[in-house]
């Protein structure tokens, strides 16, 4: 029995369809991300769950109850907004206490719970500050404490990290994951950041043009992308066009490479992750020439020209000497790494 169920959810604004027939389920305590580029309908979906946008058709069910006639203030959903949306005229403690006041929690208990919520996000020493006196990361944690202090049944996160710098984002991801797991609160996060989605989620729903393309665990979504869009949006990928032939695919330059085609013949799309390719001095499945290379600290990124086209290759920086630009190299990988996707639509 799933805790949150979106059933045929659709949202149209006149001619424009923001979300089309979206089905999604989340179990109690699960962390599900809606991942997609801007304009894919992920935020509209979140707003329909929160009750700020009324679906054109379809239902939102929480714990078996249809939320259609439940206004936002009765849904018992905590939300962290992209802008944090802290109340600028209230102190940190006032912001966190607001939801408890609305629930008529007694003053003494309110103070204790605000204190505990602020401790959870390590901000108890800043309770008397106003939001504008806080850094972005601190504001974000106040927003999280404010959403969690009322012990909502569902937590919605709308691009919660997009206004933080890279270092802070990583810290916040770890903290958010720890909090979410310890509270076991069902969470839906909207993001366009694939790393964030993979790091935090139990499952990822990849969205494009108002539709869900694929729902899977981060590993499966990464290793077995449903289509070209999912493969390129989740991580980097080499996309190759070819034809299915018995035992493999025929790519550009009439190179036939072994792959699991699932019996597909005719035009197919293949995808090959850059980190699955091994570079060697010579030999392997394909020969190529290094066009350019970038040093990225813990790994190298190579652009290699080959018979099937240009390929991106990641190599761990293990301290060994790396091929130079212009060097001839051999490219190799396991058969299973070359994925054959369904033929490209259109």
């Amino acid at each position: 029995m799933s805790f949150l169920r979106l059933d045929g959810l659709e949202c149209r604004y006149g001619e424009f369809t923001a979300v089309r027939h979206l089905d999604l389920e989340a179990h109690e305590g699960e962390f599900v991300s809606l991942l997609g580029p801007s304009g894919c309908g992920k935020t509209t979906t979140l707003q329909m769950i929160a009750g700020f946008v009324t679906p054109t058709t379809g239902r939102v069910e929480m714990d078996g109850r249809d939320l259609a006639n439940v206004p936002p203030n009765r849904r018992d959903i905590g939300i962290v907004f992209q802008s944090y949306a802290l109340f600028p005229h209230m102190t940190v403690a006032g912001n966190v206490a607001f939801g408890l006041e609305m629930r008529r929690v007694a003053k003494a208990e309110r103070r204790d719970r605000v204190q505990r919520a602020l401790e959870q996000v390590h901000l108890d020493h800043l309770w008397a500050r106003y939001p504008r006196q806080l850094s972005g990361g601190q504001q974000q944690r106040v927003a999280l404490a404010r959403a969690l202090v009322v012990e909502p049944r569902l937590l919605l996160l709308d691009e919660p990290m997009s206004n933080l710098d890279a270092k802070l984002r990583e810290d916040m991801q770890l903290e958010l994951r720890r909090l979410q797991r310890s509270l076991r609160i069902t969470t839906i996060m909207v993001t366009h950041d694939q790393n964030e989605a993979m790091a935090l989620s139990d499952r990822i729903a990849v969205m494009r043009s108002g539709r869900i393309v694929q729902v899977d665990t981060p590993q499966r979504a990464y290793e077995r992308p449903a289509d070209e869009f999912a493969s390129t949006f989740l991580g980097k990928s080499n996309t190759l066009r070819g034809r299915g032939v018995p035992g493999g695919v025929a790519l550009a330059g009439d190179t036939v490479l072994p792959a699991e085609t699932g019996g597909r013949v005719g035009d197919v799309l293949c995808t090959l992750r850059p980190e699955k390719i091994r570079l060697s001095a010579a030999g392997g499945r394909l020969a190529g020439t290094v066009v350019s290379r970038l040093f990225l600290g813990n790994h190298w990124l190579f652009q290699v020209a080959s018979a099937v086209g240009e390929l991106l290759v990641y190599c761990q920086n293990a301290g060994a000497a790396m091929p130079e630009e212009g060097d001839r190299v051999g490219l190799d990988w396991d058969d299973a790494s070359l994925l054959v996707l369904a033929a490209e639509a259109g």
Partner: protein, 281 residues
């Protein structure tokens, strides 16, 4: 830019203010120290007898009290109507928003005299309002020449200034804070009172300053609806100048009016700044 450039750039405006505002004001102040005699007209004395007369005469004190009452009532009612109105307008779809703003501001394009005469037609002894009251079996209301009548008409004239001021303040408010409050369990009324209104308060307070000073010095509406029977400071000044021809006394009332309005506004401003210094972005 040279150091003198700002002064040169402000020069024309400053000159205009000096000529059209400061000079007449200074002359009014000077005039208020003169005295008046029926036979000689204005006598060039230099004393405070006009001020003493105004302050010691319960007739003038009543007029000032009434003016203050009127300005405070109009300001409070304008805030009570204007703030929710501005919020509702800011939440409309763009097309309706433009239309509604036009409806709110449209009356400003019509002369105050015309609008006030409209009210006299509505409020008259057998005017539309009394006909409606009669039809509903309610007693007749004497609104013309009464303070409530002046308050109603003046509020109608001045409410757009409040809407504009609050509207401007609401532009700075993150609409997500309203959704955040709703998600935390606040009803629409609570959202307005606890989240929108406090953030719009700087606008309400600056709107109050505009409405208060305009109401305290309003002439046309009190003159047409209040008439001679219900004088306020502005109409009293007019009568001293043009009916009694006692210019020095009229000037003294005018100076007192300006000074008290400026004092109240400055005090108010001080309170506002102290209260909102912490939350200002």
């Amino acid at each position: 830019m040279k150091k003198t450039s700002p002064f040169l750039l402000c020069g024309p405006v400053l000159a205009m203010y000096a000529l059209l505002l400061a000079a007449p004001l200074a002359m009014t102040v000077l005039l208020s120290f003169n005295s008046y005699s029926r036979s000689l007209g204005i006598v060039l004395t230099w004393d405070l007898r006009n001020y003493a007369e105004v302050i010691s005469d319960s007739y003038f004190l009543r007029i000032f009290g009434r003016t203050l009452q009127l300005a405070v009532a109009v300001t409070l009612i304008s805030a009570a109507i204007g703030a929710p109105e501005a919020w509702i307008i800011s939440r409309l779809s763009p097309r309706w928003r433009t239309f509604s703003l036009l409806v709110v501001l449209g009356p400003l394009l019509v002369s105050v005299v015309v609008r006030t005469l409209g009210w006299t037609i509505l409020m008259g002894g057998s005017g539309l309002l009394n006909q409606a009251f009669a039809a509903l079996g309610l007693p007749r209301a004497e609104m013309l020449f009464s303070l409530p009548g002046v308050v109603i008409a003046l509020t109608h004239v001045l409410v757009p200034f409040m809407v504009l001021a609050v509207w401007t303040a609401l532009q700075q408010v993150d609409p997500a804070t309203e959704n955040a409050a709703a998600s935390l369990g606040a009803s629409p009324a609570q959202v307005f009172l606890r989240v929108v209104l406090p953030q719009a308060m700087p606008g309400v307070l600056s709107g109050s300053i505009i409405v208060f000073s305009l109401a305290a010095s309003a002439f046309a509406t009190p003159a047409l609806i209040g008439g001679r029977r219900l004088k306020v400071a502005a109409t009293a000044i007019y009568d001293e100048f043009l009916a009694s021809l006692n210019w020095p006394l009229g000037a003294a009332i005018a100076v007192l009016l300006v000074v008290s309005v400026v004092a109240i506004v400055l005090l108010w401003n001080r309170l506002v700044e102290r209260r909102f210094a912490a939350m200002a972005p």
